[in-house]
């Protein structure tokens, strides 16, 4: 079943086409990876798929609903959540509060109820809190519940964004380089976390440079180069595609097979 479908998607920045004529669909339950050299348009594509950017042309369908041109919060309301490569953590709040923000969509609380503190609000808040604590344990942040976000190490912040995304109860999660800047141990933990997400029935879109991670967890890979679709398919297919090898290693190296994650 197709969860998300993209038709002729393009984004121009003052004449530069950062993403051009993309056409693909993401099946429910997949781990769908987007790879490509620096500047290939991966993050631009993620911004388009979450409403942060409005496409220049093309359409985005989510469960056969046209979401083109909607605001990011409307994407979130439809069940699309994401993390950011350059962290967008709320550094003025505690870790747990960061996650609780993600529950906003599911909290039925009018403004008068909030300002006059109706008793029902207290119960709802306790529920939200315990649910978000569970989510923090799920992503491995059990030790940071009451920590101020600005006092947390980088690796933990990356997972904090994942917890916040999960708090929106998404059907689709887009992770923008979740392993960037992490050490090998932390990368393994992120690897395990992505597999856990996929197992729990959430569709994952992964943008990542770490090839070992990508090849290990992906069901389907989309390769971008200069904003265009270079190749698409399973890890095995993409790994052997001569155009992919050329884009990554240059034409001269195309005789060599692509090594996974910089192994000799």
């Amino acid at each position: 079943m197709t969860l998300l479908r993209v038709e002729q998607l393009s984004k121009e920045f003052g004449g530069v086409r950062a993403v051009a004529d993309l056409q693909f669909s993401i099946a429910a339950g997949q781990v769908f990876s987007i790879i490509g050299p620096n500047g290939a348009g991966k993050t631009t594509l993620l911004n388009l798929l979450t409403g942060v950017y409005v496409p220049s042309t093309g359409r985005i369908w989510f469960e056969e609903r046209n979401l083109t041109g909607r605001a990011p919060y409307e994407y979130a309301a439809c069940g699309i959540a994401r993390t950011f490569q350059n962290l967008q953590v709320f550094f003025n709040m505690s870790a747990l509060e960061n996650v609780m923000v993600g529950r906003y969509l599911h909290e039925r609380c009018g403004l008068p109820a909030a300002m006059l503190r109706f008793p029902s609000l207290g119960r709802a808040e306790r529920e939200t809190r315990s649910e978000c604590e569970k989510l923090m344990h799920f992503v491995g942040l059990g030790a940071y519940l009451e920590t101020a976000a600005d006092a947390m190490p980088y690796g933990a912040l990356k997972r904090l964004e994942i917890a916040r995304a999960l708090a929106t109860r998404p059907r689709l999660v887009l992770l923008d380089e979740p392993a960037a800047g992490l050490n090998p141990t932390e990368t393994l933990e992120v690897d395990a976390l992505i597999s856990k997400l996929a197992k729990s029935g959430i569709t994952v879109v992964l943008v990542e440079h770490n090839m070992r991670l990508v090849m290990g967890v992906s069901d389907h890979i989309l390769v971008l180069d200069y904003g265009r679709q270079l190749a698409e398919g399973s890890a095995e297919v993409v790994r052997r595609d001569p155009r992919v090898i050329e884009a990554y290693l240059g034409a001269a190296a195309s005789a060599e097979p692509v090594s996974a994650g910089g192994a000799p």
Partner: protein
């Protein structure tokens, strides 16, 4: 300790209630009462303004305009049209809320300096209108306002007004803290922290900004109405750009994103000029020096800085360090 006190909703409010209840023991004459009332009225505006500036991270340099509209609206409806004061205040507040909504929708799309300029312009326009529409407002001379009366009972005298303003302040603080401590308050702080982060978490940032702008305008308008009826007289002086700046200064001085900080900021900056009169012509110099030194040594504002200071031995600072060392983070070697 202080932070924990401020953090738990009821105990902080109880402490403020205690201060309001016990303060009259120290107020020796009508002049002291007058200053205390002025503190309370400014504090109400600042608590509302702090929701906008401290929590939502938006600036307004025009809130004296809303304060002035609240004051003049109530004054004109009671003095010129003979409305009962409570009805006049209620209708004025609704009017100001509607105006803030209309103004807020377009200008809250702006950020930083542009938002500051737009709100500044709004405040100046209101102050010009108030000063020039002299048939209605009395112009630069101001106009007199009937006393506040509810069902025939007229509120008169400093002692009565002290309790009116004290209760109004407590309600204002209670409502503000409820809001901050709700999903809506979290949404406001989130869009302050990262607007795009808040948006992808499902928060309509434009809607929340406009709402908090309206709420802060309502706070200012109510304080304006109370001021008009208490003083029995309104002049354009309280509608000026300078008063807007004064209000923002109180919020920043007391500590942004701290409701009690806003109250303390209003209290200190309202009483300080009174206390400094013994410096005679050097009053403003000393006032400026106190302000500068405070902001240099306490850049986060009075209350958050002091709270962190008292908190150090057992507070979140240490807790977070422990979590960093003994937590799940694998060694970075």
């Amino acid at each position: 300790m202080l932070r924990r006190l401020a953090a738990s909703r009821s105990s902080g409010l109880a402490a403020l209630a205690l201060v309001v209840a016990l303060l009259p023991l120290a107020l020796q004459n009508a002049y002291y009462y007058e200053v205390a009332i002025l503190v309370g009225l400014n504090a109400i505006v600042c608590v509302g303004l702090n929701l906008l500036i401290g929590y939502a991270g938006q600036i307004s340099l025009g809130h004296a305009g809303f304060f002035g509209l609240g004051a003049y609206g109530s004054a004109i409806l009671t003095a010129r049209y003979g409305w009962p004061p409570l009805a006049a205040m209620a209708v004025t507040t609704l009017g100001v809320a509607a105006l803030a909504y209309l103004i807020g929708r377009p200008i809250l799309r702006l950020r930083g300096h542009y938002l500051a300029m737009a709100t500044l312009g709004m405040g100046i326009i209101i102050s010009i209108v108030v000063a020039t529409e002299d048939q209605l407002t009395g112009g630069p001379d101001g106009m007199s306002v009937p006393a506040l009366s509810v069902f025939g009972f007229a509120f008169a005298g400093e002692r009565v007004w002290y309790w009116v303003v004290g209760v109004a302040l407590l309600v204002a603080v209670w409502v503000a803290r409820n809001l901050v401590d709700s999903p809506h308050g979290r949404a406001l702080r989130a869009l302050h922290g990262s607007e795009v982060g808040a948006e992808v978490a499902g928060i309509d940032s434009a809607r929340h900004k406009v709402r908090v702008f309206v709420i802060s305008a309502v706070y200012a308008s109510i304080a304006g109405g109370l001021t008009a009826h208490y003083a029995g007289f309104v002049t354009p002086a309280k509608v000026t750009f300078f008063h807007s700046i004064e209000l923002v200064t109180m919020v920043v001085f007391g500590g942004m994103a701290s409701t009690f900080g806003a109250v303390v900021g209003a209290a200190v900056l309202t009483t300080l000029p009174q206390a400094l009169t013994l410096f005679k012509e050097y009053e403003m110099v000393v006032f400026g020096a106190v302000m500068m030194l405070t902001m240099i040594f306490m850049p986060r504002g009075l209350v958050p800085t002091l709270a962190a200071l008292f908190d150090r031995p057992e507070g979140p600072g240490k807790a977070s360090r422990d979590a960093g060392g003994g937590g799940i983070r694998p060694p970075a070697r």
